[in-house]
Amino acid sequence: MSLLRTDGLTKQFGGLVAVDEVSFEVDSGETRAVIGPNGAGKSTLINCITGALEPTAGTVEFDGEDITDLEPHETVQAGVSKSFQTASIFPEMTVRENVEIAALASEHGSFSFDFLKRLSGFDAVHDTTDRMLESVELLGDADVEAASLPYGDKRRLEIAIALASEPDLLLMDEPTAGMSPDETAATVELVEELQDTLDLTILIVEHDMEIIFQIADRILVLNRGQVIADGTPEEVQESEEVQEAYLGGVEL
């Protein structure tokens, strides 16, 4: 069953068509990858799905609902959350507070008049926070200021924030960019583990081919905004068009 479906999704910046009539589906429970050379429109595609950018044409459907025109916070509330490419955290707040705010948003919705209610009384928020911190192995650093974490930990915190929104679909924008090989391996393991325990569907944008072919169930290949291949890793690997346009004819 498809959880996310785009239909003719197009984004134009002036004369440049960054995303050109992209139609694809993400099935419930799968790990879906989007790859493509620089400037292929991967990030723009993600931004159109989250609502950070307004598509010029086409629709985005999530869980049977049209989410094309939703604001980013509404998209998150609908069940689609995003982990950023650069760790987008709250540097001067503690690790726990970083996750708490996402858990809070998931618990009480996008807005509430609860400004005289004690935060310490939100038990579900604290439970979710602890659970997410534990799953990314940061519970021990919960009271540390986020800015003082090593880079790899910041990225895992970033993932914990995205997960605390309790999404059905997690969009991951190059989760291993800038990581050391060790950190990369740990992150890949983490992603696969999370998917099992949290019953997540993942849409991942990644440069690292090795990772993609290791974890992706299906791969969407973009070039200059257009879909040039869509299928299993094997199918994509064998596609001549992909080798031509993206890999420059190099054998994988």
Binding site: A105, F111, R118
Partner: protein, 393 residues
């Protein structure tokens, strides 16, 4: 979980508010260590400080002044005036210090509340009702101004709020004269006493100590309510969200929170505090004019007080209001040998104080006390905060 929220790694300092109040109130150290773990510690500490504040400001400083031959004691109305500005900047700091929104137009809320209270006093001169009416008007005004201004950020937000504030100022001077009495303002505004006029505001509470008036007690109670409400807000989900907005607005949107509505709430809440202060101001001063109530300098003064006191805590800005009003009202009256009377040069003195504080103590007066306090208590200032006046436990 730090309620402190400025600067670098050394910021997370175990409660400086303790020590601030300690120096002011002379309370013991070890009992406070346990007390300050409590959520409402800041309210209790403020109550203690309010009891001794006029005595220190007027009587003690006055006696010192007599000895050194320079008049440095405050006048009897000064403690109330400091608290009135203190109430305003507690709210202003929720917007500037926590949410990170710099408004240059809060005189609009201060002034509209002051004028509304003044006008209402001609119908019912009850101080409590004047405060309520003034606050309601300020709140209603904050909604549309915030709604438009919040859509822009940074300097555009500051300029938009400034523009709205100045528009109101010029309206009050010219076209709105039928309501505001234009350049003449209102004088002789008289609020009757509390409890249906039974207790006049200028009545003394304690013989000999002139500054302990009913007006002071009234102001102190309103201040305590303001601190209590402010403390509840920063310990509520709003405290977390405001702080997060100040640090990474985009991320707040992407955890699923409505950034626009929360920023608007921060704006309106701060305007409520400014409204309470504006109405209290007119009760205290019994006089109102567009220049004192609505001019942009007034908005700028709120910013200066807040930064001077320190944006890193709930009550820090109150210290800024104290120093500001002390320089404006007492130092301005000081006459020095060689230099002569300081008079209207007080803004130079204030400027020097401001530059010094911001330079030496970037986290404001509160930050300075906070560092000093942790050193005196033998605590490591590098240690993450375990408890703070504005703390979630």
């Amino acid at each position: 979980m730090s309620g402190d929220r400025s600067g670098d790694a050394t910021d997370a300092i175990p409660d400086g508010g303790t020590v601030t109040e300690e120096t002011a109130g002379g309370s013991g150290g070890s009992a406070l260590a346990g007390l300050r773990e409590r959520d409402d510690f800041v309210v209790v500490a403020m109550a203690a400080a309010l009891v001794v504040f006029p005595f220190l400001l007027i009587d003690i400083l006055g006696a010192v002044g007599d000895v050194i031959g320079i008049s440095i004691g405050g006048y009897t109305g000064l403690p109330s005036l400091v608290l009135i500005y203190g109430i305003i900047v507690i709210g202003f700091n929720l917007l500037l210090g926590y949410t990170g929104l710099l408004s240059f137009g809060h005189a609009a809320f201060f002034g509209s509340a002051a004028y509304s209270a003044a006008l209402f006093s001609q119908v019912v001169p009850s101080p409590i009702l004047m405060v309520i009416v003034g606050t309601i008007v300020a709140t209603l005004l904050a909604w549309p101004i915030g709604f438009v201004s919040i859509r822009r950020s940074g300097v555009y937000f500051a300029v938009l709020t400034l523009t709205f504030g100045q528009a109101l100022y010029f309206w009050a001077l010219g076209p709105g004269s039928w309501l505001t009495n234009g350049d003449n303002g209102f004088s002789g505004i008289e609020a009757h006493g509390l409890f249906l006029g039974a207790i006049p505001l200028d009545a003394q509470l304690i013989p000999v100590f002139d500054s302990y008036t009913v007006m002071y007690a009234f102001t102190a109670v309103v201040m305590l309510i303001a601190v209590w409400v402010g403390n509840r807000i920063i310990n509520s989900p709003y405290g977390l969200i405001f702080e997060a907005l100040g640090e990474n607005e985009e991320r707040v949107e992407f955890v699923g929170l409505n950034v626009f509505r929360y920023k608007l709430m921060a704006f309106i809440i701060s305007a409520v505090f400014a409204g309470v202060g504006g109405a209290m101001f007119v009760i205290h001063e019994q006089y109102i004019h567009p220049t004192t109530a609505l001019y942009w300098i007034q908005s700028g003064d709120f910013v200066i007080m807040t930064v001077l006191g320190g944006t890193g805590s709930l009550v820090g800005p109150v210290l800024g209001a104290l120093v500001f009003e002390y320089v404006a009202n007492v130092i301005s009256g000081v006459s020095l040998p060689m230099i002569g009377s300081i008079g209207s040069l007080w803004r130079f003195v204030l400027g020097a104080v401001f530059v010094f504080i911001v330079w030496v103590f970037p986290r404001g007066i509160y930050g300075a006390f906070s560092d000093l306090g942790s050193r005196l208590l033998g605590e490591d200032p590098e240690e993450p905060a375990v408890a703070d006046g504005g703390e979630r436990e």
